[in-house]
Symmetry: C2
Subunit: 390 residues, 2 copies
């Protein structure tokens, strides 16, 4: 058995950053920027008014001063001329500030009569002008890698980057194994259950930026498993679920080995999820997850998500943890890292009483995995502990 950290570093060595592709800006949110992009223009491209009002010369601004309005600068169509002493230009938010103007009076601070305005309230010191390039200038970078947020998408638009270089989504093939499984919507026999792991994992991995596809269930025989691996062709990552334990029907390891899988490890010192295997299988990385539903999903969070992140070019590492305070005492932990299902609210972490790795109802109610390090001593109510948000 190896540690969780050793398993992760094996896993990272099995994959590499995927190539980039250009996608339309409307599809960029949530994707990972592949290389630095640079603004193709200045923003604003000209000194722009920050308010609706009148552009004048700052040295003429005083209460009761009068100006003659000689034209208008609107957003999209500026005033083409000089503004001289005693003159003003009607100007709107975002419009170019004309030559000669270095102050924008708020319209609320002026009275207008015909083509004459008078300053009727103290206009203050703020010139209400946004200098050219105040937001960004040509060549200003957005650094990669970076998972693009809605605000990033707005910024890319403003920079006129209509096509965005992002990492291709990892193609992940999900194979559940076992004679006991039928697909949702099917009618199970008396000894059968419904395949659930592939559905939960697909949701998890798709949210993380992968493209996961659910393959037909592989039965507990070599031909069926071999067929499933064949259908996985083209995947960057092949994930099997179940059949990786020590039972006589656990054929994933042997069949994968026959198909050329070079095993990197088998068994990790953790709970739930000890029987985890991984290796390289042709062009794909392969991870064998345990078949217990909670083990499969926990290993999805702990191992598969970081692997997906690595393929997307994001920093390779453990899932980030947060801190909360225990609402109960917990006993000392043993020689395996333990990830206990819990609910965090208002900084307080409450463990579920039932921690069996078959209980999807509990996992569905949980929003956190309490991390118990190897050999961690007993912890008391109120202790600050680390957890992974789900």
């Amino acid at each position: 058995m190896i540690t969780v950290d050793e398993a992760l570093s094996h896993l990272f060595s099995l994959v590499s950053t995927l190539p980039e592709e250009l996608i339309p800006l409307t599809e960029a949110a949530g994707r990972v920027l592949a290389h630095e992009v640079q603004a193709t223009r200045n923003q604003p491209p000209f000194a722009a008014s920050a308010m609706d009002g009148y552009g004048v010369r700052a040295d003429e601004v005083a209460l009761d001063a009068k100006f003659k309005v000689i034209g208008e600068s609107a957003a999209g169509l500026g005033f083409d001329g000089d503004v001289r002493a005693g003159e003003a230009v009607r100007i709107f938010t975002g419009a170019p500030v004309p030559d000669g103007v270095d102050f924008v009076l708020l319209q609320e601070d002026c009275d207008r009569f015909g083509s004459t305005i008078t300053i009727t309230s103290d206009p203050g010191d703020n010139a209400n002008i946004r200098p050219a390039g105040a937001d960004f200038v040509i060549g200003q970078p957005i650094a990669a890698p970076r998972r693009l947020t809605p605000a990033d998408v707005a910024l890319l638009a403003a920079m006129n980057i209509a096509q965005v270089p992002v990492r291709r989504r990892p193609d992940v093939a999900l194979i559940s194994t076992g004679n006991e499984l039928v697909m949702p919507g099917d009618t199970p026999g008396p000894d059968q259950i419904i395949a659930s792991n592939t559905f939960g994992l697909k949701a998890l991995l798709d949210q993380a930026g992968a493209h996961a596809r659910i393959l037909p269930i592989a039965r507990d025989n070599e031909a069926s498993l071999a067929m499933a691996f064949e259908l996985a062709e083209g995947a960057d990552l092949v994930i099997t679920i179940g059949g990786a334990s020590v039972g006589d029907h656990d054929l994933v390891g042997p069949v994968a080995a026959e198909l050329g899988m070079e095993q990197a490890f088998y068994k990790v010192a953790m709970r739930p999820g000890k029987p985890l295997m991984a290796g390289r299988m042709g062009k794909a990385a392969m991870i064998g997850l345990p078949g217990n539903p909670v083990s499969a999903m926990v290993c999805g969070h702990l191992f598969v998500l970081p692997v997906v992140h690595a393929m997307l070019g994001l920093p390779a590492g453990r899932r980030a943890t947060r801190q909360a305070r225990l609402t109960t005492d917990v006993a000392a932990n043993g020689p395996r890292e333990h990830y206990m299902r819990a609910r965090v609210a208002d900084g307080q972490l409450t463990l579920f009483d039932r921690q069996d790795s078959s209980l999807l109802t509990i996992l569905s109610e949980a929003n956190a995995l309490l991390l118990r390090p190897v050999g961690d001593g007993p912890r008391a109510t109120g202790d600050q502990v680390d957890y992974i948000p789900l």
Copy 2:
């Protein structure tokens, strides 16, 4: 001017929960469950082995005890018969526990020779059996409304709910207004800039579960705006950006009114984003956002996201806040709620020096909006403050 809370309660009165639709399980993650669903089966459907090993009678379990292996119970195909004194059945994880068996010996605790096993290690007290229905029983509910997580999707699969009743996605039409705008990829004139707000908002709203569509830019004339409103036909929510201020070219209010918009409010006591308007326009709700990029996105977070949540049947209310500690002093706030761009790391909130509402570079670096309530006094370094995560 009305308060942020008043604006929100007006907004909630403009929309109603959308109808439900049935979708395939593979598309359910992130969608909002429309009504309670119930398990159609027990899980496990039978008492199931939690380990690979041998099923025996608990009262015979003792070190050195011997059993005759009379058959096998595999996952998907149980053992059809009784297990009597002195007998054992080879059993695998997830397989049905045969009649007569109430203890599963771990295979690591036994030696097998031919069809005889001997207990060679202390098997402990754990029977390694999961009772029927331990995870869920027929009729057990998943309560609605609920935004479905990957674990929920796995649970729905296990319950054999292959089609999931969810709220229809709100159809949101996004109209940016202004002669100064061109679409990303176009070549702007010297007085023009690139439309960015619709792209940022689409990303934000799509992530929240809406289906946002970007309409053609409306120019600063009545015909163009009227055409844009016409293209919004069928939307649940029409959002305009810009043109809602007091400038001569701000036509959104007048044109919408001509088209029958019943205005619920105009102007909210907040920064950034004061010139916010909303109303009812035929079958759709209409929100007019300010045109400054940061104002538009902040109002998207503060107002549009809660409205989308309400349409999805989720509880209607303000965005949830978290707490962090200030890394600098901040001055007292005035009569408008102020949402200041900030970066939170390790529980520390650092404000950006530049808070101008035109700065998308700052918004893109920000991951939090510091919430300054109306009339909030000065705050000192180290004070605990509320923020909205971005």
